[in-house]
């Protein structure tokens, strides 16, 4: 019944200096799901929202956030946006050199018939936790992922960002 091992590393980046953006290009369509795992280190106090786009496209995104910061739990949504908003309220640090864990799932990313949805979890040492789900109203296979922030040089040296692929039986 089982069909073999999967969950393969596609590409990994370790930041050796402060950066404002990261990018994964020419992503293979050989998998069923993608998982972006980011051991995040902050280079600023900005606590940035991570702005995620795919395929160089800047339209058709919407994201719903569920978050808690230790005293309140709440939910927000930003619709008809030019990017997915990940860790919009909680989940990236507001302290320089503080860390966070960000795991973003792209289920069924290589299909070419339906919209794409994502699920992301974020957790930081000082801002809280957040669960995000989002949609990209486009049926193209995802072959590129870009992440940046509204402010510059937020992603610190020592951050490790790895893209994995999971194949279906």
């Amino acid at each position: 019944m089982a069909a073999g091992l999967t969950y393969e590393k596609i590409q990994s980046q370790t930041l050796s200096s402060t950066q404002s953006a990261i990018q994964f290009l020419s992503i293979s369509t050989a998998y069923t799901d993608l998982i972006l795992v980011w051991a995040y280190k902050a280079a600023s106090t900005n606590q940035p929202t991570l702005r995620v786009t795919v395929n160089g496209n800047s339209s058709g995104y919407s994201t719903t956030q569920l978050y808690g910061n230790g005293s309140t739990v709440a939910s927000t949504r930003n619709t008809s946006a030019s990017f997915w908003s990940i860790a919009r309220v909680s989940g990236t640090p507001s302290t320089t050199a503080a860390t966070a864990t960000i795991i973003m799932n792209f289920p069924n990313y290589s299909n070419t018939s339906y919209y794409k949805s994502i699920l992301a979890r974020t957790a930081s040492t000082d801002s809280g936790v957040e669960l995000d789900c989002g949609v990209w109203q486009n049926s193209a296979a995802i072959n590129q992922i870009d992440v940046d922030a509204a402010t510059s040089n937020d992603f610190g040296s020592g951050s490790v960002i790895t893209l994995y692929g999971i194949a279906a039986a």
């Binding site: 089982a2 799901d33 018939s113 279906a168």
Partner: protein, 187 residues
């Protein structure tokens, strides 16, 4: 050479840990439910990853081992609707809530989720299952939801089958994709 053969067959050589695809179901038409049966007991944990559509608004449930006793299931959940956050404790259904309080399965916007079933072969303790789920419809009228659930299955039996269904008699539709994976420890 004989000695090497003995070592291998005795599993003295450690097997690597692994994440293995067990079975995937991709719907090409309409189905009332999606089932995984005969799940092998050779893994340590299971993970179910789904991407789904339905013919009409539907809340998803997960039934285990064909057990339809209401008293054997319970779900705690918290969700965000995009405007408010809330939660609850569901004890009235003969299945674990998989998704769908303010955002439900629909015809157009994929509902997605990841469900972890730890130590599923254990036969001496009840099972606790966790899931994260979500659907965003860009405020088009279908609603939306990001949710986290924990499910309690009051049975000491190993999990050998899973059945997903939607309430209200709604059906899963073409394009839905459910993948079951097994996670192995190092031997």
């Amino acid at each position: 050479m004989t000695i090497l053969g003995i070592i291998a067959s005795s599993k003295l050589v450690a097997a690597p840990p692994g994440f293995e695809s067990i079975q995937t179901q991709t719907l090409t038409g309409t189905q009332a439910s999606i089932s995984f049966t005969g799940i092998p007991g050779t893994f340590t944990h299971l993970q179910l990853r789904y991407y789904g559509f339905s013919n009409s608004f539907g809340t998803q449930f997960m039934e285990i081992n064909g057990n339809t006793s209401t008293g054997d299931y319970r779900t705690h959940y918290t969700f965000g609707s995009g405007a408010t956050a809330s939660g609850g404790d569901l004890t009235s259904r003969a299945a674990i809530l998989g998704m769908g309080y303010t955002g439900q399965f629909n015809t157009t916007y994929p509902t997605v989720g990841i469900i972890d079933l730890l130590d599923y072969t254990n036969t001496t303790k009840i099972k606790t299952i966790r899931g994260i789920h979500g659907v965003d419809t860009n405020n088009t009228g279908y609603g939306g939801e990001a949710s986290m659930n924990s499910g309690w299955y009051n049975s000491g039996s190993a999990i050998t089958s899973l059945r997903f269904y939607l309430d209200g008699g709604n059906n899963f539709t073409a394009g839905s994709k459910y993948g079951l994976y097994g996670i192995k420890e190092s031997a």
